[in-house]
C-alpha cells in the first residue's frame, strides 16, 4: 500500500479496525498519495484521509458503476492494458440480454428456482461447428451453484471454460465485444444517479473520479481497500466485482501499489478458506463433490476444469489425487479412484445459517464450536440460541466461558421467559482451549502469507490446542470402530492419522504442515518434501494436503518460520514468512510489465522479461511460466500452461485474461448491477426489480423482513442500521470483553445517531435508546454525533444508525456485558458465497430502556403487527414489474 499513489478505502474503517496496517497508508500519504474514505460514518479513517465521502449503506454498486461509466465515456481507462490483458476484446453470445433490456434481470433468469441459467452469458466461439464457449454444463445451472456457494471455489482462480478459442475484436468496437457490452450496461450510472441513490454530491464524485484517473496508468497506481463493509450484503460479491472491473479498466491489477486489498478481520480467516473449514470446499479451493454431479473422480475432474482450457487449473487432477493420497495413503489406489468415494457428497446449501435452521428442525443433533461465539457473533442471535437449545449435544472449545456456552442458564431467552433451563435437553461440554502463545502453528494473514507462531508456554490446566483435541478425538473414534467391517467406517479406519506427539501429547504442527506441503511417494525422492505444486502428479506418486501451500516446506525447511528482519532484506520482504503460491507477494504480477515484457514505467517496475537470459526476473517471484517469451503465441491445439500466450497474465483464468465480463463464475450476473438491500427505505431507482433476484431468502416466522419502499408499513422501521467493529474489541468479544484493559477502554454497547435524528426521536447523548427490528429489540447507550450524516436520497432524508456488535448477554467472567446488535438482524444471504446481509437493515429507535420479560416480546410483536408484515414480505424473488409500478 505504501507504493500507491491513491488509496480508496470503501467498506472498511481501516484506521480503527486494522490500525497497524494503516501505517502503510500513512506512509503512502507521506510520499504524496491521496487517501479517500467512502463510508456511511465519519470515523478515524475519515479523519486522517484527504476526504471523507458519506454514502448510504448498500448503494456502492451505483458509485463504482458510475466511475466505470466515467472512465469509459471520457476514454480515460488504460487502453493498452485493457486491450492486452482483459477480456474487453472478446465477443459475447448474441443471446445475451442485459438488465437494461429486461427491467432488472439478465437473460436466463428462472423464476421457479430464483436463479439463472448461464447459457446466454457465454463467449462467442471461433472453434469450428460451435457457437459458444463457456456454456455451462447441464449441471451448472445457477440453482445448483447457489446451492453450494460455488463462487467461493474461485478463491485461487476462475471457473472453467471448454477451451480458450474465443472470437475477438482487437479494436473493441464490435457491439458484442465485452467493452461495448460494459459501456451499455453502465450508461445510466451517472453522477446524477449517484446523488439520487447514494446521497453523494457532484463535487465529491468529481473529486473521486479525478483522483482515480490522475493516479492510474503507466506511471501511477490506485488501490482499493475494503473489508466486510463490502462482503456482508445480499450482493456483496458483486460489490467487489465492480471494484475489480474498475481496477482492470484502470490497469491497476498485478502492479505495485495497485489491486484490491481485502482487509480480513481475523488472524487466519484467509487460511480458513485456503485449508477450508467450509462446507463447500476441499483444501486449495477444490469443490466438495455434489451428489449426482460428481459421481466419479473422472466426472468430478471434468467439472472442475477442462483439459483444453488455458492455465494451471488444467492440473486439477494432480491437486485432487495428491490430496486423496495425503488423506488415505496406501488405501488410495488408481483402481479405486484413489478413494474418491470416501468423500461425502453435498446436495444443497449446507451453510452455517442453514445448519442452525436444521437444528431448530431437529435434524442436526451435535454441534462443535471452536473459538466461535455465534450466540453473539452471527446474524440473528435469537435463531442461533434457539438452534442450540434443540441439540442433543454441544461441544464448546474456547478460552473463556462465552455466551454460546452458557445461554441455557443466562441467555436473553431465559430472561424473557421463552426458555426454561430445566426444560432444555441439550448436553453441553465446555473444553478450555490453548491460545496462540501456548501452541505452535501457522496463521495465514490477509495477503496470503503464512507466519509461524512459536509456542512460548504450556497451556494451563485442562486447556489444550484444537490440534490436540481433533487428533485425540480422531484416535478415540478410530479405537471405537476398530475391527468394524461396515464399509461406512472405512474412510475413518483407512485415514492417515499418525503424527508425532510431544511429552504433553500435543501433535507436532510441523509434521502436519509438512503433510500439507506434500511429499514424493515413489522413486528416488520417495519420502522427501515436494518443492512446489508443479511437481504434483495425478498417478498417485505424490501426496499433498493442500496444493496451493505446496512449497512452504520445500527443501525440508519450514519457510513459514522465515524471519529475516525487515532491515536486512528488500522492500518486497520475500524472506519473512511464506506467501502462497510459491512465495509470490503480488498475484498476476506479469501485468506489471507491458505486452512486450518491459515495465510500464521505471517508477512501477516489478517483474519484467530479461531478453538475454530468456526469463522473467524482478523484485518478486514472477507469477508466470518463467521462460515464456512475451512474444509467444500458442497454437490453437495447445492446452494448460502451454496455452498461455506471452501476454496472458491471468494464469489461473481459463482464457488467461482479467474478466470485465464474467461469462461464468458469478451466478447473479455477468456484470454487477445495482439492487437495493433486503430491507431498504428507498426504491430501486434503476429497475422495477427492487432486490437481487438471486439472493438467498429464508421466509420463516422467526425471520421476518421489514417492509421496503413502496410497501405499506415502511415507516414502522424507518431507519437504516449498520453494524461495525471498534479498535478495542474483537468480534463477539471472547478475546476482548474478558480483558480488563480493553473492557475499560470500551465498556458499554452504544449506538451512533446524528443530531438531526436525535432531535427527531428525542434521543439524548449518554442516555438510553431502544432499537426495534422485526426480529428483536435491544437497548444501547446513545452517542449523538455529527459523524453520522443524514443523507438526502430519492428526495427524502435517510437517517443511518451505527452499532458495534461486540457485546452479549450471559457468559461467565466477562468484564463487560450488553445487548447484542446481531439480535436485530435477519438472515438473507448473498447467492455466490452465502454471506449474510448484516451491513444494512431497517429499525426503529425510541428513547429509553427496553422492556423485559413478556413485555419485550409484546413490543416486538406490536411493531410487527403495526407494519403488517407477513412471512413473505420482502421475500418474493422476482418483483412483479406492474405491481411495483402501481405501488409507486
Amino acid at each position: 500500500m505504501a507504493n500507491s499513489d491513491c488509496i480508496v478505502i470503501q467498506g472498511s474503517n481501516m484506521a480503527e479496525c486494522h490500525p497497524v496496517a494503516y501505517q502503510w497508508v500513512t506512509e503512502a500519504k507521506l510520499r504524496g498519495a491521496r487517501v479517500i474514505h467512502v463510508d456511511p460514518r465519519f470515523t478515524r479513517t475519515s479523519a486522517v484521509a484527504d476526504r471523507h465521502i458519506p454514502i448510504r449503506a448498500g448503494s456502492d454498486v451505483i458509485l463504482l458503476g458510475a466511475l466505470i461509466n466515467h472512465v469509459l465515456t471520457t476514454e480515460t481507462y488504460f487502453r493498452d492494458y485493457v486491450q492486452a490483458y482483459t477480456n474487453a476484446t472478446m465477443l459475447v453470445s448474441d443471446d445475451f440480454q442485459d438488465t437494461e433490456d429486461l427491467g432488472g434481470v439478465f437473460s436466463g433468469y428462472d423464476p421457479e428456482t430464483g436463479q439463472y441459467d448461464l447459457t446466454s452469458w457465454a463467449y462467442k466461439s471461433r472453434a469450428a461447428g460451435e457457437e459458444k464457449v463457456g456454456e455451462p454444463g447441464p449441471e451448472e445451472h445457477g440453482a445448483e451453484q447457489a446451492a453450494v456457494a460455488e463462487g467461493q471455489a474461485y478463491g485461487s482462480g476462475g471457473p472453467p471454460l471448454d477451451h480458450a478459442l474465443i472470437e475477438r475484436d482487437p479494436t473493441m468496437t464490435d457491439p458484442r465485444c465485452v467493452l461495448q457490452v460494459l459501456r451499455r450496461h453502465y450508461a445510466r450510472y451517472t453522477p446524477a444517479l449517484v446523488t439520487e441513490v447514494c446521497g453523494i454530491g457532484r463535487e465529491d464524485f468529481d473529486y473521486l473520479a479525478r483522483s482515480i484517473v490522475e493516479n492510474s496508468g503507466r506511471e501511477r497506481t490506485t488501490m482499493f481497500a475494503y473489508a466486510v463493509g463490502w462482503t456482508q450484503h445480499s450482493l456483496g460479491a458483486q460489490f467487489i466485482r465492480t471494484s475489480a472491473i474498475l481496477q482492470l479498466l484502470m490497469g491497476n491489477v498485478g502492479r505495485p501499489g495497485g489491486g484490491i486489498m481485502a482487509l480480513r478481520g481475523h488472524a487466519s480467516i484467509q487460511g480458513a478458506s485456503d485449508i477450508p473449514t467450509l462446507f463447500n470446499l476441499l483444501p486449495g479451493y477444490l469443490p466438495m463433490p455434489v451428489a449426482g454431479k460428481h459421481e466419479s473422480l473422472g466426472q468430478y475432474l471434468e467439472a472442475v476444469s477442462s483439459k483444453r482450457q488455458k492455465g494451471f487449473w488444467t492440473k486439477a487432477d494432480t491437486y485432487m489425487v495428491s490430496l486423496l493420497k495425503a488423506w488415505w495413503g496406501d488405501a488410495a489406489q488408481p483402481d479405486n479412484d484413489f478413494c474418491y468415494d470416501y468423500l461425502p457428497r453435498l446436495n444443497g446449501n449446507h451453510n452455517t445459517y442453514q445448519s442452525v435452521m436444521d437444528m431448530i428442525a431437529g435434524t442436526v443433533k451435535g454441534y462443535f464450536l471452536l473459538g466461535q461465539n455465534p450466540a453473539v457473533g452471527s446474524a440473528h442471535g435469537r435463531m442461533q440460541r434457539f438452534g442450540m437449545a434443540n441439540l442433543d449435544w454441544l461441544v464448546v472449545r474456547d478460552i473463556n466461558l462465552i455466551e454460546s456456552a452458557t445461554w441455557w442458564k443466562d441467555g436473553p431467552e431465559i430472561a424473557s421467559g421463552e426458555m426454561e433451563t430445566d426444560k432444555i435437553a441439550t448436553e453441553v461440554f465446555f473444553l478450555p482451549a490453548a491460545n496462540h502463545a501456548e501452541k505452535d502453528g501457522t496463521f495465514t494473514q490477509t495477503q496470503r502469507m503464512l507466519q509461524w507462531h512459536f509456542k512460548a508456554v504450556e497451556p494451563p490446566g485442562d486447556a489444550r490446542s484444537d490440534l490436540w483435541f481433533y487428533y485425540v478425538l480422531g484416535q478415540k473414534i478410530r479405537e471405537r470402530l476398530a475391527g468394524s467391517t461396515d464399509p461406512v467406517d472405512r474412510p475413518l479406519l483407512d485415514l492417515t492419522w499418525d503424527y508425532p506427539q510431544d511429552e504433553h501429547g500435543e501433535p507436532d504442527a510441523d509434521a502436519i504442515l509438512r503433510e500439507v506441503n506434500g511429499t514424493y511417494l515413489t522413486g528416488e525422492k520417495a519420502g522427501q518434501a515436494l518443492p512446489g505444486f508443479v511437481e504434483l502428479k495425478a498417478d498417485g506418486s505424490t501426496a499433498s494436503g493442500c496444493w496451493i501451500y505446496s512449497g512452504v516446506y520445500a527443501g525440508e525447511v519450514n519457510r513459514s518460520k522465515n524471519k529475516v528482519p525487515d532491515a536486512e532484506q528488500s522492500w518486497v520482504a520475500p524472506d519473512w514468512g511464506w506467501a502462497w503460491p510459491m512465495n509470490r507477494r503480488i498475484l498476476y504480477n506479469r501485468a506489471s510489465a507491458d505486452p512486450q515484457g518491459r515495465p510500464w514505467s521505471e517508477r512501477k517496475a516489478y517483474v519484467w522479461w530479461d531478453e538475454e537470459q530468456g526469463t522473467w526476473v524482478g523484485h518478486d517471484v514472477p507469477d508466470f511460466p518463467v521462460t515464456t517469451d512475451p512474444a509467444y503465441r500458442p497454437a490453437d491445439t495447445a492446452t494448460g500452461p502451454d496455452a498461455l500466450a506471452g501476454d496472458d497474465p491471468f494464469i489461473m483464468q481459463a482464457d488467461g485474461k482479467g474478466w470485465l465480463f464474467a461469462p461464468k463464475g458469478m451466478i447473479d450476473g455477468p456484470m454487477p448491477t445495482h439492487y437495493e438491500p433486503q430491507e431498504s427505505p428507498v426504491d430501486n431507482a434503476l429497475y422495477p426489480q427492487q432486490r437481487n433476484p438471486s439472493r438467498l431468502v429464508y421466509p420463516r416466522k422467526d425471520n421476518l423482513t421489514a417492509p421496503s419502499a413502496g410497501d405499506p408499513g415502511v415507516d414502522v422501521y424507518p431507519y437504516v442500521a449498520t453494524t461495525y467493529r471498534l479498535t478495542e474489541h474483537h468480534t463477539a468479544g471472547a478475546m476482548s470483553r474478558w480483558l480488563p484493559y480493553l473492557s475499560e477502554l470500551q465498556p458499554e454497547f452504544f449506538c451512533e445517531v446524528s443530531p438531526e435524528l436525535a432531535a427527531e426521536r428525542g434521543l439524548e447523548n449518554g442516555g438510553w435508546a431502544t432499537l426495534i427490528s422485526p426480529r428483536s429489540a435491544i437497548e444501547a447507550r446513545v452517542l449523538v454525533t455529527e459523524r453520522m450524516t443524514p443523507l438526502v436520497v430519492g428526495g427524502r432524508t435517510v437517517h443511518q444508525i451505527g452499532m458495534p456488535y461486540h457485546w452479549g448477554v450471559g457468559g461467565t467472567g466477562a468484564v463487560v456485558q450488553g445487548d447484542s446488535a446481531n439480535d436485530l438482524l435477519g438472515v438473507t444471504l448473498d447467492p455466490n458465497v452465502s454471506i449474510q446481509e448484516s451491513k444494512v437493515s431497517s429499525v426503529d429507535i425510541q428513547p429509553g430502556r427496553r422492556p423485559h420479560g413478556a413485555d419485550l416480546l409484546r413490543l416486538v410483536q406490536d411493531y410487527q403487527s403495526r407494519s403488517g408484515i407477513t412471512v413473505m414480505t420482502g421475500n418474493d424473488r422476482l418483483e412483479d414489474a406492474e405491481e411495483r409500478g402501481e405501488a409507486r
Binding site: 501505517q23 480467516i269 470416501y342 445448519s355 451435535g366 430445566d422 496463521f443 479498535t727
Partner: protein, 189 residues
C-alpha cells in the same frame, strides 16, 4: 547522574549533561523509575509469535520468565508491523494470563441447572461416543435417486478464524472422513 542535592541536579543542567535536551528521557526519571527493571529485560527467553486478533499478522515478541508469559510486545523485525501493535495486540498478555479464564472442563447434563466437572479424558471419551452414535443414527448412504451421499447430517461445526492452518487441516480431514459436511468457519460470516 549529577547529585540532585546540589545545583548540578538542576533539571536544565541534567538535560544538557545527559544529552536529553527535550527532557523526555533519563534527565527526568525519578529514582523510583531508575530502580525499576523492565520485565522484558529479565525474561528468560523471547519467543517469536504472531498477533491472534485481526488478519494483518503483526509480529509479536513474547517474553517468558519461569515458564510464564510476562509481557507481549510488537516485533520490530516484522516487515508487516515494524514493531507496532494496536490496543488489542498490546493487551494480549491479559489474554494469556487472565484470572477470568476457564481452565477446567465443565459439563452440563441434559436439563441440569448448573455445570459439573469432568476429567479431560472422560470428556473426550464421551464426545467420541456421541460422535460415533450420532453418525450411526443419522447416516445417509444414498439419496432418493440412488446417488451416493455417504454422510451424516447430524453433526455440524463452526470454527473461529484464530484456528491455525494445521488445526483446520486436521478438522477438515477428520470431519470429511466421518462424513460430516456441515463444517463452517467465521470465514463464511
Amino acid at each position: 547522574m549529577a547529585d540532585r542535592g546540589t545545583f548540578l541536579g538542576w533539571p536544565v543542567l541534567r538535560q544538557l549533561a545527559s544529552g536529553d535536551f527535550l527532557g523526555r528521557g533519563p534527565a527526568v526519571t525519578t529514582r523510583h523509575t531508575r530502580e525499576r527493571t523492565a520485565r522484558t529485560a529479565t525474561a528468560d527467553k523471547v519467543v517469536k509469535s504472531v498477533c491472534p486478533y485481526c488478519a494483518v499478522g503483526c509480529g509479536q515478541n513474547i517474553f517468558v520468565k519461569d515458564g510464564r508469559v510476562v509481557q507481549i510486545e510488537g516485533d520490530p523485525d516484522s516487515p508487516v508491523s515494524r514493531g507496532r501493535l494496536c490496543p488489542k495486540g498490546s493487551a494480549s498478555e491479559q489474554l494469556v494470563n487472565n484470572p477470568r479464564r476457564q481452565t477446567t472442563v465443565l459439563y452440563r447434563a441434559p436439563y441440569a441447572t448448573d455445570w459439573t466437572h469432568l476429567g479431560l479424558d472422560e470428556a473426550t471419551d464421551m464426545i467420541a461416543d456421541r460422535v460415533v452414535e450420532t453418525r450411526r443414527r443419522t447416516w445417509q448412504d444414498k439419496d432418493e435417486h440412488g446417488q451416493f451421499l455417504r454422510r451424516t447430517m447430524g453433526i455440524a461445526s463452526l470454527g473461529g478464524a484464530a484456528l491455525d492452518n494445521e488445526e483446520n487441516y486436521l478438522m477438515k480431514k477428520l470431519y470429511t472422513a466421518m462424513g460430516a459436511i456441515q463444517v463452517e468457519n467465521q470465514a463464511r460470516i
